[in-house]
């Protein structure tokens, strides 16, 4: 028996390219549907876990998917904007806690997630070092964001302009890093967290500048009357919030009119959640309330349908591959006629020849299957991160 296995192994080793191609084909037809299933399943679990943990989302009328992806996973697409008044009105109903979300700006590749202090408790985020943001312009970073940006407590990050060619647009804001969060293996790890008011300063809706009534600011004054001072374009607006200038930062008008991308509503109980949803469904105003888990389930259903099509295609390819492999095997028998005759002449019977050929097939299948299992294990561990890396690059 050992001799049969030895001969089979030596044959495969001698014809290494043919063996490699066969093993590779077997590996791919096993791995592709299984690996795809693993990635989809993992994605589904992740999406569902975060969506399940987010009871309700309120935003301006538009795509529920965009609203959910932006608020939960900090996607690049900004949904229709709502206002801070929405958060206020939710609180005033007494039915739910409202966590404002403004996910619009970035610092390099990392999303700047502007929210309220309650978000950290809601998501169970804990500090690894430093402290929570206390002053305007302060930020805490997710664990992965801190690593990717190479910054820590005491360093600073700068907001990126929305468009590279917007020369007249908003100034970048330098934000001081006061804390780094412990990893929690969600989108939060990649985020840069600031107070919503800091995001409004990034946008230019709130700002700090020298006191125009101060004689030192006379060069920035275009026109001065007894009751009005008009500044000229040279008025310096601060692009970093420090202890010295923080008192000069201000917002014009009521904050209720300021923009948000969404509001996470956390009902006090199930009944409150239903009542709150009912109020929005009855409302004809330009707003929507969505249950993220419904939105994500719908998305997953779509993905599942696509997956089923892909698996069907893979099955057809697999049949073709197996047929081709069988053909290759049968053709190789003709090429190996002299080899088989030689085995017979030195005393090998039909059984030995059949065993040797069967051993070759089993070895190829085992090698292909083992490699596919290894790849699936790698996919289970790192697949999502690799895919994300490819997509981000």
């Amino acid at each position: 028996m050992n001799g049969v296995l030895y001969l089979a192994w030596r044959y495969l080793a001698y014809n290494r390219w043919k063996t490699t191609i066969l093993v590779g084909s077997i590996m791919l037809i096993i791995y592709l549907p299984v690996g795809l299933n693993v990635v989809v399943e993992q994605s589904g679990q992740h999406l569902n876990a975060r969506a399940q943990a987010t009871p309700l989302l309120v935003g301006a009328k538009g795509s529920p998917l965009e609203l959910s992806l932006n608020s939960l996973y900090f996607s690049l697409d900004t949904p229709e904007l709502t206002t801070y008044a929405e958060a206020t009105s939710i609180i005033e109903t007494g039915l739910a806690e409202a966590i404002p979300m403004y996910v619009r700006f970035r610092s390099r590749a990392q999303p700047i997630v502007a929210t309220s202090f309650e978000y950290f408790g809601f998501r169970g985020l804990e500090l690894a070092e430093g402290r929570m943001p206390a002053l305007l312009g302060e930020t805490v970073l997710g664990a992965a964001a801190a690593e990717d940006l190479g910054v820590g407590v005491g360093d600073a990050v700068v907001s990126s302009p929305e468009t590279a060619f917007d020369l007249a647009g908003i100034y970048p804001l330098k934000m001081n890093v006061v804390g780094v969060l412990a990893p929690n293996f969600t989108s939060d790890d990649n985020a840069i967290f600031v107070d919503v008011k800091t995001a409004w300063i990034i946008e230019g809706l709130g700002h700090g500048h020298e006191d125009l009534a101060n004689p030192d600011a006379s060069s920035a004054v275009l026109n001065r009357t007894a009751d009005n001072i008009v500044a000229n374009a040279s008025l310096v607006q601060f692009n970093e919030i420090t202890e010295d200038n923080i008192d000069s930062f201000h917002f014009h008008g009521s904050l209720d009119g300021y923009p948000l991308t969404g509001v996470i509503a956390v009902p006090h109980d199930d009944k409150s959640g239903v009542i709150l949803m009912g109020r929005y469904l009855d409302s004809e105003a330009n707003k929507q309330i969505v249950r993220p888990r419904d939105v994500v389930e719908e998305l997953l259903d779509t993905i599942l349908t696509i997956q089923q099509f892909i698996v069907a295609a893979v099955f057809i390819v697999a049949v073709a591959t197996i047929a081709t492999a069988a053909l290759v095997f049968l053709l190789s028998l003709r090429l190996r006629r002299r080899e088989i005759d030689t085995i017979g002449k030195i005393g090998g019977g039909r059984w030995h020849v059949a065993s040797m050929l069967l051993a070759e097939i089993i070895i190829v299948l085992l090698m292909g299957g083992t490699l596919a299992a290894g790849l699936t294990a790698l996919t289970w561990q790192y697949g999502s991160a690799i895919v994300e890396g490819v997509v981000m690059s």
């Binding site: 992740h46 806690e97 929570m132 293996f185 923080i246 917002f251 994300e388």
Partner: protein
């Protein structure tokens, strides 16, 4: 189909997640009561701390972290102080623009209590002298609101009620005790109100001078004829300020100047030469060295009554 094509196929899902490890179940934040179940209340001024202490009794810890030697209205807390505020169960704000630093810090909105929100229509706006214009937002001014609201003891009752409501909302099991304590506090405030009303009636049409423009609510509630100047009790007024006072007194003869704190002896003496007596009526924004807020108010009323 190439591996790259496969990557594109799964990108829809993969771009939505970060790494391939298990997600920890998110937790909705529960306010962490300590073992003794004491409610942690923090305030922006001493009157609110006094109200909260009176209502909570031994059911909570009330803190007011501003140093004793500053005016809490203009105090700027350090980040460590703000962290203390963030950890409280209730953060009592005075509203009316008091403690402007609140606008520039990160505090848990769900734990903020604006104690003058219910009486916002009774707040006194202060018009800014100057507006300014820059950028696309048009004219605006940085005028504000008079914020020493508790000197109208009727408003103080409303603020105390707001404090009680907030406390009851997070500790409903002790509602009866808290409401009873509020009744006692309200009775004290109403007694102060009646006393001060009587003193004000005795003053009649007599003009009083306020050394600082922080008595707007006192003036309105008790119908005082008053003029405000900008004098500091621990600084000798400059000659220009004396001349300004002289001019004011010619138009509005006044025999009383109300101070936030004891003025310098020289100032008191020179005011006497003008026929003006100095009366200390501290707004009680910060914790006194001795006694409590009620004592400070009673002392102020007594001082005014003695004139």
């Amino acid at each position: 189909m190439t591996a790259k094509s496969w990557i594109k196929v799964v990108a829809v899902t993969a771009m939505l997640q970060t790494v391939a490890c298990g997600e920890r179940a998110p937790q909705e934040r529960e306010r962490e009561d300590r073992a003794d179940d004491l409610l942690r209340v923090i305030t922006v001024n001493y009157p609110l701390a006094y109200f909260a202490e009176s209502i909570l009794g031994d059911k909570g810890n009330v803190s007011f972290p501003a140093p004793a030697d500053v005016d809490p209205a203009y105090w700027s807390p350090e980040p460590a102080d703000i962290t203390t505020y963030q950890q409280a169960d209730l953060i009592l704000l005075n509203g009316a623009g008091y403690a402007a630093w609140v606008a520039n810090v990160t505090l848990p909105r769900s734990r903020l209590v604006d104690t003058t929100a219910a009486v916002a229509d009774q707040l006194i706006p202060i018009e800014s002298d100057v507006t300014h214009t820059h950028g696309p937002t048009g004219d605006h001014s940085h005028g504000g609101t008079a914020f020493t609201t508790w000197l109208d003891f009727d408003l103080a009752v409303a603020q105390a009620a707001a404090v009680a409501d907030a406390i009851v909302a997070v500790r409903p099991s002790h509602e009866a005790e808290f409401r009873a304590a509020l009744d006692g506090l309200a009775a004290d405030l109403e007694a102060l109100d009646a006393d001060l009303m009587a003193v004000a009636e005795a003053l009649g049409d007599q003009t009083v001078v306020f050394s600082h423009p922080v008595y707007q609510y006192l003036e309105r509630r008790y119908n005082l004829q008053a003029i405000s100047v900008h004098w500091e009790p621990d600084e000798l007024p400059e000659e220009a300020q004396w001349r300004e006072l002289q001019s004011v007194l010619q138009r509005h003869p006044a025999k009383i100047m109300i101070w936030e704190a004891e003025p310098l002896g020289e100032t008191r003496r020179r005011l006497t030469e003008f026929g003006v007596q100095s009366v200390v009526f501290s707004p009680g924004g910060n914790r006194p060295e001795t006694g409590d807020w009620l004592d400070v108010m009673k002392a102020g009323i007594a001082s005014l009554r003695s004139q």
